[in-house]
Amino acid sequence: MMGAASRGDAFRAAGKYLLLGMLVIVAVFPIFALIMASFRPGRDLMRYGIAFKTLVPSAFDPKNFIELATSRDGVYLTWFKNSAILTILQAGLSLILSSFVGYGLGVYRFRGRSLVFMLVLAVMLVPLQILILPLYKLMSAIGIMNSYAGVVAPFIVSPFAIFFFRQYSLGIPKDYLDAGRIDGLGEFRIFFLLTAPLMAPAFGAMAILMSQQAWNSFLWPLIVMRTGDMFPLTIGLNSLLTPYGNNYDMLIAGSCAASVPIIIVFFFFQRFFISGLSAGGIKG
């Protein structure tokens, strides 16, 4: 390898890690600032924003978090619940269905395969934001506005995940399939019993990506969800920003509590994530 350490060039290695370390501090600083600010009264923030002088609170008062759970009849907890349900529905369905399609495209040769793959690529290239109007009309027409189904439906098959699973399953040796067939397994049981477990790293990587997207999605739930009791966290938090002043007590503590779960999930699956992305991702 071309490692600096192996060249014994300790100076340059130290410089490199110093530079990287400073950039890491810049990258993580906003999260740190958010956590620190969540222990301060909102009116401090209203006046100066986040300031260096007031970065570390004098006392770690959990008042904001207690209020978060209790104020406005615990509406924050409802938003949290909605986000959790939407994320599990959307990420779960999209993992199953997209892996199914990606695997079908990667493993089988059939008439129309290239056409389907081209369609997947084409869909990847059409930002859904452009289609929000007709999608909105469609959802109203079938009566699933202001419902979980309405938010999740357009995303339960993800072209990006299909592409990813296809790339990944291209590398599955055909012998596996043949071995399964000789043992008398049907094609679907081969997928569920033999090949899906082989794609575990791909599932891990996509699980993180899909959950993150669902948990953080904004524009589409903003359109579909009409009443406060159906808002996910993103829309609920956004509704605290008003022209008449921002409710920073709730906003900051709420932002904090909304971000921590996904960061924890990431740290649990992190190794999966990186190795899965590298194995299935973009090859040179």
């Binding site: 399609v101 079908g104 290239s114 973009i282």
Partner: protein, 297 residues
């Protein structure tokens, strides 16, 4: 007979596998696409919708449209200029040296992308507050500059704010893409180059960058889509109403016309034109990417 039926069912199997995509494609892409095309030729008033030919397209090119296109275009250019070279350099640095420390750093760079754009907007709004005591302005103060009103100050401040949020959130993701690209480069190429006496800079220019080209083009392509379909980074700061429209993007304009002003026809025509712009850029990019040629038959 048995083999024949096996054969027949086997031929159907792949279609069952791809069926979910075909269904969702028809329901959520093809149908809306046709719908938006039809609407773009209509004047849509509940109960009295009628065709008006190209009128929406003629009316579409307002000063707002020019402003939104300009903002989206600038935003896309700036994000690409920052979000390709910076992550490439960081990925190269993180790809050599101490493995454990590298993976800790890489994870740290990735954390911002896990945070929702609303949360990012909230923190940035406070860090970039207009007061001279807010974090960013006090750093500028140390450098002798006057406090800047980032959110309401004007066009360049608004653009800087949106681009910085994007850079903060996406650097870590692009690092992961580039690192997976780097790992596909055979190590013996570097060894051979080192034996031939090539220095670090030379190896970067002659080996790393050319072999990283597909990944660079991939990231550039997704940045074009992301850039032109940007809405949220603007919405979180101005809730759709920015002074002199400094934060108005193309998707913001569609949202404004369609959902806030209720003119679905004109919003549809803007959407279609935006899609054509993005598509044209995409085709050019994919040609460069060599995607069409590489698909195995």
């Amino acid at each position: 007979m048995k083999t024949a039926s096996y054969f027949r069912s086997y031929r159907l199997v792949p279609y069952v596998f791809v069926l979910p995509f075909l269904l969702s494609f028809c329901a959520f892409y093809l149908y809306p696409l046709i719908g938006t095309t039809v609407m773009s030729f209509q004047k849509i008033i509940p109960g009295r919708t009628h065709y008006i030919g190209l009128e929406n397209y003629a009316k579409m090119f307002s000063p707002d449209f020019a402003q939104a296109l300009g903002v989206s275009f600038q935003y896309t250019v700036y994000t690409i200029l920052l979000l390709v070279p910076v992550p490439v350099i960081l990925a190269v640095l993180l790809n050599s040296g101490l493995k454990r420390l590298n993976s800790v750093y890489r994870a740290a760079f990735f954390i911002p992308s896990l945070v929702s754009v609303v949360v990012a907007g909230t923190v940035f709004r406070l860090m970039f507050a207009a007061s001279g005591r807010a974090v960013v302005n006090s750093i500028l103060g140390l450098l002798g500059a006057k406090p800047v009103d980032w959110i309401l100050g004007g066009a360049w401040q608004a653009m800087a704010l949106m681009v910085l949020v994007a850079v903060w959130r996406w650097t870590g993701v692009n690092i992961v893409y580039f690192m997976s690209g780097l790992q596909a480069i055979p190590a013996d190429l570097y060894e051979a180059a080192e034996i031939d006496g090539a220095g670090a800079g030379r190896r970067l220019v002659s080996i790393t960058l050319p072999l990283l080209r597909p990944t660079i083009l991939f990231v550039t392509t997704i940045s074009i889509f992301g850039g032109f379909s940007m809405f949220e980074e603007s919405y979180i700061f101005w809730q759709g109403v920015s002074p002199n429209n400094v934060g108005l993007t193309m998707v913001g304009l569609i949202y404004q016309k369609g959902f806030q002003l209720g003119d679905l026809g004109i919003a549809s025509s803007i959407g279609l034109v935006l899609m054509l712009i993005v598509f044209a850029l995409a085709i050019v990019q994919l040609k460069l990417f060599g995607f069409f040629g590489k698909e195995d038959r």
